[in-house]
């Protein structure tokens, strides 16, 4: 009984939330007012200053592809935003409970509070903003034949080898877009600037994107990598990063680098625009003429949050899913072989 949450305690918690949870509308008006009085700070050498640790947490759960019922509507209505704000408050309240109530059905996943949560509702119905239907453009015929690995959206999984699994499951890479698109944890982006360079240290896979600024040519097309070869420039206060020289057939544009793998012709154009003290508007145009019928664009905010920092990424020690999937598949084959022998 000690852990069961009483009605009185629930009411008290709800009352606290009623006092502390500002409606979405009030908050956005306040943010707009703060942004108005704010001017873009500069580094001592005169570049726009984007430094800090940022996270895409606020759009956790927002689908990459817009659900069909929203049609060409990108933004939630104010009323829908209030509902989403209420959802976040309820989620936060559930996260406070350390144990489940008796007889409640539980899965094998960790408790909800182990993941990261949005702090305010994402205003968008999808991460894709262009084309206007908010959906990934059609694949070219050749791209449809590319194998999607297990753990990246494959519906007919096999576990013959580790190579059947996604590069994310293998702790190798999520690609550039997969490393910033919001997922349930590991969304941190630490931006550090120096004269001639911007470096983005990413929490997941501890990728460090060292981005030279100012017209330096891309590496030879013979030099290719998972994260590509980025080059940056300033357009006003916006950091524009063009990345090419990707390895083909590795990660996709889905969350965690899932989906159909992109080709070696992939070119990403990212735009980082600081819109206030604690928010950057992130935008990326995905152009892969060997994979998609047309380029498309994804946008979402990344924010700076009190106390938020990148954690160390140590994927292999805990990557039991790989051992378990492979050994489980082998055990199943062995059992099937023995059963066949008995017949």
């Amino acid at each position: 009984m000690r852990f069961r949450v009483s009605i009185a305690a629930l009411a008290a918690v709800a009352a606290v939330f009623a006092l502390t949870a500002e409606p979405a509308i009030g908050q956005s008006a306040k943010a707009a007012a703060a942004a108005k009085s704010w001017t873009q700070p500069k580094t001592p050498w005169g570049d726009p200053d984007l430094q800090g640790t940022w996270t895409s947490d606020d759009c956790i759960g927002t689908p990459l592809n817009r659900p069909a019922n929203f049609g060409e509507r990108l933004n939630y209505t104010e009323q829908e935003l209030v509902q989403r704000q209420d959802q976040l408050a309820r989620q936060k309240q559930n996260d406070l409970q350390e144990t489940v109530t008796p007889d409640q059905q539980v899965g094998t996943g960790p408790p909800g509070h182990w993941g990261e949560r949005a702090r305010r509702p994402c205003k968008q119905t999808s991460l894709i903003v262009d084309p206007p239907n908010g959906r990934t453009p059609d694949l070219l015929p050749e791209a449809r034949t590319r194998r999607i690995p297990e753990g990246a959206g494959n519906n007919t999984p096999k576990a013959d080898s580790w190579e059947d699994f996604s590069y994310y499951i293998r702790c190798i890479s999520r690609g550039v877009t997969g490393s910033i698109f919001p997922v349930i944890y590991g969304n941190g982006q630490q931006i550090v600037q120096a004269p001639g360079y911007v470096t983005i240290l990413q929490e997941m896979v501890h990728e460090a994107r060292v981005i030279p600024l100012g017209g330096r040519p891309h590496a030879s097309p013979n030099v290719r990598s998972y994260m590509g070869d980025p080059r940056g420039r300033w357009e006003g206060n916006t950091l524009v990063v063009e990345t090419t020289n990707f390895l083909g057939n590795r990660t996709g544009i889905g969350l965690n680098g899932g989906g159909t793998p992109t080709s070696d012709a992939l070119k990403l154009t990212e735009r980082y625009t600081r819109t206030g003290p604690d928010e950057i508007r992130y935008e990326v145009t995905i152009d892969d003429p060997k994979t998609f019928m047309q380029p498309f664009k994804v946008t979402f905010p990344i924010t700076q949050e009190t106390g938020y920092q990148n954690f160390e990424y140590a994927c292999h020690e805990g990557n039991y899913a790989m051992f378990d999937s492979l050994s489980g598949a082998r055990a199943r084959e062995k059992a099937a072989a023995e059963a066949a022998k008995k017949k």
Binding site: W162, C171, V210, S225
Partner: protein, 82 residues
């Protein structure tokens, strides 16, 4: 827990305290001197001294390091379908 601290077989534990000193010797050299203190495994503090050289090649840049694909056979090899 005692773990391998480096590729030379030296150890480190959760008690290991490292102070690294990066000193510019001249425009293109950094003297790198880490001091390692861990009373639970070493009888006294010890120090490493080495020099970092600036890469002077035009357009020198650090390449991507993706090690995993080269060690998966070692980690999971016995679990692969024969």
């Amino acid at each position: 827990m005692v773990r391998a601290g480096d590729r030379s077989g030296n150890f480190q534990t959760e008690n290991t305290h490292v102070v690294e000193r990066f000193t510019l010797g001249d425009a293109d050299h950094i003297n790198y001197e880490p001091t390692i203190v861990d009373k639970t495994i070493y009888t006294r503090p010890w120090r490493i001294g080495t020099v970092f050289y600036r890469r002077k090649e035009k357009n020198a840049q650090i390449n991507e390091f993706k090690c995993v694909e080269f060690v998966e056979e070692l980690i999971y090899g016995d679990l692969k379908k024969k």
